[in-house]
């Protein structure tokens, strides 16, 4: 049985909870865990003030209750598992380098910003800025996987340099903006201006989309690597159709304003 943190009462203002993370709780007693700090607005409180704590410390933490106001949960996590039963607030898994986070419902803006490894799965929808760089950052996600079963907002994969972002539903605008490398797969529709200023990297979509004027149609083909990705995603529980795995894709290359070495693959339906 894992360590269980059960929220006693939803806080009045947002809470920064970077201490809720397997790394920070490793080797601690329940009493020590209870004394870990949380930042309730401008006031420092403890984990024990807001959560009842049961179970044992074995690298897996289970977060229960309405945690949609808890920010930075799993920050800088490098190992273990974090199971969030409900929804989670902003910056879940920020700068994560390993381990696994599973969000049972929705995640707010900034899922896994600047992460370098591990996997974040969101069963519901995610907000804007999934797998992004913070403002001013010149390099975003450098590794790991972010799997969103529902929809994602704007700027998914902003400035990403490596890793995988998969969205089961639709995406907002500017998917893969400023992308340096890496892979983004969107099963639903994408918003406006996909891949703007991308240098390298691959954005794949199963739905048609309007391309920016600086992208050029290159060819249609059946990319091998995509089969591997799609089978992997199917294993992770995304509804991948057989037709997609064997399907033909239109390849658009761009952004010509940058290196023109990025690609957007659109399923030929």
């Amino acid at each position: 049985m894992s360590l269980r943190l059960n929220l006693k009462k939803k806080p009045d203002v947002p809470v920064e909870a970077d201490s809720i993370c397997p790394d920070k709780m490793e080797g601690l007693s329940l009493k020590d865990i209870s004394a870990l700090p949380l930042h309730h607005g401008n006031e420092q409180i403890t984990v024990g003030d807001l959560f009842s704590i049961t179970g044992k410390v074995n690298g897996e933490i289970c977060l229960e209750g309405d945690t949609s106001r808890f920010k930075m949960v799993g920050a800088s996590m490098s190992k273990g598992r974090l199971l969030i039963k409900g929804s989670i607030g902003q910056h879940v898994g920020v700068a994560m380098s390993g381990g696994e986070i599973i969000v049972g419902k929705n995640a707010d803006n900034w899922v896994g910003p600047e992460m370098s490894g591990g996997r974040i799965t969101v069963k519901g929808n995610a907000g804007h800025m999934v797998g992004c760089a913070y403002r001013g950052g010149q390099v975003g996600v450098t590794g790991g996987e972010i799997i969103i079963h529902g929809n994602a907002g704007n700027e998914a994969g902003n400035t990403m340099r490596d890793g995988l972002i998969a969205v089961g539903g639709s995406c907002g605008d500017f998917t893969g903006i400023n992308m340096l490398a890496g892979t983004i797969i969107v099963l639903g529709e994408m918003g406006w201006r996909t891949g703007a200023a991308m240098k390298r990297g691959t954005i794949i979509s199963m739905q048609d989309t309007e391309m920016l004027p600086t992208f050029t149609y290159a060819c249609s083909y059946r990319p091998d690597f995509l089969r591997l990705y799609l089978r992997h995603l199917r294993k992770l529980g995304l509804p991948i159709e057989d037709a997609w795995i064997s399907g033909c894709y239109h390849r658009w290359s761009g952004d010509s304003i940058e290196l023109n070495r990025g690609e957007v693959l659109i399923l030929d339906r």
């Binding site: 930042h39 401008n42 403002r135 001013g136 050029t216």
Partner: protein, 459 residues
């Protein structure tokens, strides 16, 4: 040297204040000649002022309003300071918002107040050119003070802004009919281009008007960037933007071949879909063109001292707006610590609104939350926000009653002159008084907490 604010000529009850600055818009024209009837407490003439400036100065009257209202009831400034301090000292996620119509001296104190409280500070920038600030952080900018544009610019492009109505003297003082060192023949030495979704009052001064389809500014900018770099552009762009390839190519040639080019842009870019990426696209276009000639891309900003707010918050915290101090140091994140989000998400548990009116110009969901939490307002006028506030201060007008510093939209700091006294306190005085009282309350709170801890330990 004397203090700028004190320079005035008096004759009987008539006072003439020369070189006064109008704080209505970001132009901050500093050549006002104000004629003041001291006894009547009225400004009777405002030479050089535009229609907005005239409205500002000639309509000025010291309204006979209570010094403060607490819960809608009349109160003294001191009572209101006490109430405001109590609200703030007991808040966990307070926010100060506004700051674009007050002096830098006030802004400096306001940031200090939030630093001490561990709250959030944001200015009207976040709903104006905040996206441009974020764009700067992504791509940089090539900018200039307005005098350089007056002296040198031979190609001036207005994009998504209507200065004829929002910055009425922009053309005459800075960019179109202004006479400069290398532009002695004024408009004849310049080509003026206007790009907009509609035919605004700014279009008639332009030599070239390019009408872009709504929501396609980014695509047009992107196509122009590609053309400047001699890269591929899909011909579909004509249908998308409503602008012909010929027009685009003509514009690109003009941009590459001018001597000193300028892109002025307004909120037609920052407030439409694309936001900071629209700004980033136009800033990048400006920078790209420096491969060929000298080129500037710079926002046109609205409020008198909104640029000062960015400037002050940046030098004190390192970040321009949307800054939170909850953990004892500044954190910046637009979308998290910006006012609209703080209210819409229901995060803020108290608000101090300094010289702005979000009660009137914020989205309904934000206003609904403002009604739920204790709000404090400082404003010379009665506003929609004052209506819903727990504490409302009446303060004196900056630039009329109160001296101090304001930053023009290009970052040139200007010292404001005053022309009339006011019985109301300045924003700075009120903020300073609140600061002092909050400081006492926080110390007391800490002591009682310490005592509690001791008692608990003893028990």
């Amino acid at each position: 040297m004397m203090r700028v604010a004190e320079k005035a000529k008096s004759e009987g009850n008539i006072k003439i204040v020369e070189d006064a600055t109008c704080t209505f818009c970001g132009c901050l024209c500093d050549d006002m000649v104000l004629t003041v009837d001291v006894d009547a407490k009225k400004i009777t003439k405002a030479k050089n002022a535009c229609v907005l400036g005239k409205a500002l100065f000639l309509n000025y009257e010291e309204e006979d309003r209570p010094f403060a209202l607490i819960g809608g009831k009349e109160a003294t400034t001191a009572e209101a300071v006490e109430e405001a301090a109590q609200i703030l000292a007991n808040a966990r996620f307070p926010i100060i918002y506004g700051m674009s119509d007050t002096t830098c001296e006030t802004q400096r104190k306001a940031v200090g107040l939030m630093d001490m409280l561990g709250g959030t500070i944001d200015s009207t920038t976040s709903v104006c050119h905040g996206p441009t600030g974020m764009a700067l952080q992504g791509v940089g900018e090539s900018t200039a003070t307005l005098g350089e544009i007056k002296n040198r610019a031979d190609l001036v492009i207005y994009w998504g802004g209507n200065p004829a109505e929002s910055l009425p003297r922009h053309f005459a003082r800075y960019a179109v009919t202004a006479k400069g060192m290398y532009t002695p023949n004024r408009k004849k030495d310049r080509t003026i281009v206007n790009i907009d979704v509609r035919h605004t009052k700014s279009v008639p001064v332009a030599d070239i008007f390019i009408q872009v389809k709504p929501g396609a500014d980014f695509e047009l900018l992107w196509a122009l960037r590609a053309l400047v770099k001699n890269r591929h552009v899909d011909p579909n762009i004509e249908k998308k933007t409503g602008v012909s390839m010929k027009t685009m190519k003509d514009l690109v040639e003009r941009m590459k071949n001018c001597r000193y080019g300028v892109l002025f842009f307004g909120m037609g870019l920052t407030m439409t879909r694309g936001r900071h990426f629209n700004s980033a696209a136009i800033l990048s276009l400006g920078s790209d063109l420096n491969e060929y000639t000298h080129f500037i891309a710079t926002p046109m900003r609205g409020h008198g001292n909104v640029t000062g707010a960015d400037t002050v918050v940046a030098w004190q915290t390192g970040y321009p707006f949307g800054v939170n101090f909850s953990r004892g140091y500044p954190k910046f994140n637009p979308g998290e610590f910006t006012a609209t989000d703080m209210f819409v998400r229901g995060d803020a548990d108290a608000g101090l609104i300094l010289a702005s009116d979000p009660g009137s110009n914020f989205t309904q969901a934000a206003v609904d939350h403002m009604k739920k939490i204790p709000m404090i307002v400082l404003d010379p006028k009665y506003t929609h926000t004052a209506k819903l506030a727990r504490v409302a201060f009446t303060t004196a007008h900056y630039g009329i009653n109160v001296p101090g510093t304001a930053y023009r939209s290009d970052g040139v700091p200007i010292e404001l002159r005053t022309c009339l006294d006011s019985k109301y306190p300045s924003d700075e005085e009120v903020i300073t008084a609140i600061y002092r009282r909050v400081e006492q309350l926080l110390i007391a709170k800490k002591r009682s907490k310490g005592a509690n801890n001791k008692r608990q330990k003893a028990a």
